[in-house]
Amino acid sequence: MNELLEMLSFSFMQRAFIVGVPVALCAALLGVSLVLKRYAMIGDGLSHVGFGALAIASAFNLAPLWVSVPVVVISAFLLLRLSESSKIKGDSAIAIISSGALAIGVVVATAGNGMNTDLSNYLFGSILATSEGDAILSVCLSVVVLIMFIFFYGKIFAVTFDESFSKATGVNSGAYNMIIALLTALTIVIGMRIMGTLLISSLIIFPALTSMRLCKTYKRVIICSSIVSVVCFIAGIVGSYFLETPTGATIVIMNMIMFLVFTVLSKVRGR
């Protein structure tokens, strides 16, 4: 108990919780739509773009979030456009953009002074990376994502379940796809500071898949994956503190454990 209190007395730990919990919540909410729409890899692609943007920002000494937010939002729109056009299929489009952005990021970052610790933080995440200004901005963005998600809940369900029906009956599905992409982009940029480029997409994909093992209605999937996501996030941070393991990776492992537990439960229940 004392150790837990001691952990919470560190300001960087407090900041990690304050920034991380809302992000985990947003990621879980959006993740359900992304997984069901077969857009799961967009998260991965965007986080690589985010890495490129961060590398460029740090090379030119710019504020990281102010550069990466617009860049990632723009590429989210581009990715959505690309996956709608039939010339390049969705998965290939994502592969092109994400590896391209990663390459640009690495080249720019190493051009000056070789691979520095900053970059490794971006790749694998670090709870130390968040400054106070970043924390405030991150929390604000998360709140915006949450409010918009609740406001558009019904429409996001309809567009996710059946885009052509929504379109045919006069719902502007293109606009709601854009909103989903925008919210995803924001969530990824905020979350990748803690989780790292290589692990952020798991924050989006795992909770949705985990809760879909057991839950049968959309509402329950949404609620369950929010809880799973937040629980895994907290467990991961606490675990990484005591075991002295990297935070992002520990959170992913917690998610994997939860996924396995749910899978076993669904098998037991199905019998």
């Binding site: 379940f161 059946d162 052509s164 045919a168 009956t169 719902v171 049968k216 209605t217």
Partner: protein
């Protein structure tokens, strides 16, 4: 006044024109079946009617009473829906979305409409079941209930019995017929199943790469194109002539005896 009137419309798919200067109209309360082979442009035409695809030329006139958000649409199921976790109620309720504008939550009237339509299609007891665990016939009923939530005037159905067993298919046809006759809902159905179409529909639009037919079902069964797809016992002059023509194999070398 027709509920939908198509004037000389042409549409293309991947740059290839699938049909050219097609004209037909649908009166309020009609039951029209659009039939034709694969690739004849049935689905493209339907997307045009729904406004999902632009026309190459011509125009579609909707009557004054019909707004975009008053069309009920039963699409073909997508792969993603097969493992989508959603309750029947959630799916049916989402049909009311187009009535809601920017309001974030469903009103009491929306919920009542959803329940009424579930009652109407006999799926009330499935209300809290998971959509992906239902049989094909039940899933189609759920989607039809959703379409009814979106409209009380016009239903556009895309191959509504594809993949259903014969019993479920005939139930589906009966429901559609009932909605058309008893509730006065105009039905436009795209189908492969010409025999059922002739049995149920008032009007037939047969799309084919070369020929077209649009007219009442009775005329269709006696037409040249109709007689090619239907087996029937009519011995009127026209049908006899078509039948003789279809059974004439003299143009096939193999049968002319030349090889002997």
């Amino acid at each position: 006044m027709p509920i939908i009137e198509c004037k000389n419309i042409s549409m293309s798919y991947d740059g290839v024109t699938v049909f050219d200067s097609l004209s037909f109209s649908v009166e309020s309360g009609d039951y029209l079946c659009i039939v034709g082979e694969n690739g004849s442009g049935k689905s493209t035409l339907m997307k045009g009617l729904l406004g999902l695809k632009p026309l190459k030329s011509g125009e579609i006139i909707y009557s004054d009473g019909l707004k975009r958000n008053e069309i009920g649409y039963l699409p073909q199921q997508t792969g993603a829906q097969k493992d989508f976790p959603a309750s029947v109620y959630e799916v049916v309720l989402s049909g009311r979305l187009n009535k809601r504008g920017f309001a974030p939550f469903y009103s009491r009237a929306d919920k009542k409409a959803a329940l009424d339509n579930m009652e109407r299609l006999g799926i009330m007891k499935l209300k809290n079941r998971c959509y992906r665990e239902l049989s094909g016939g039940q899933q189609q009923r759920v989607l039809l209930a959703r379409a009814l939530c979106a409209t009380s005037k016009l239903l556009i159905l895309d191959e509504p019995v594809t993949g259903l067993d014969p019993l479920a298919a005939s139930e589906m046809y009966d429901i559609i017929k009932k909605l058309n006759k008893e509730n006065g809902i105009t039905v436009i159905m795209v189908s492969h199943d010409i025999v059922a179409a002739v049995d149920k529909a008032d009007y037939i639009l047969h799309l084919s790469n070369k020929e077209l037919f649009f007219g009442s079902t009775a005329d269709y069964t006696h037409s040249e194109i109709g007689s090619r797809f239907l087996y029937h016992n009519c011995h009127c002059e026209g049908c006899e002539r078509h039948s003789k023509h279809h059974h004439d194999v003299s143009h096939i070398k193999h049968y002319t005896g030349e090889q002997n």
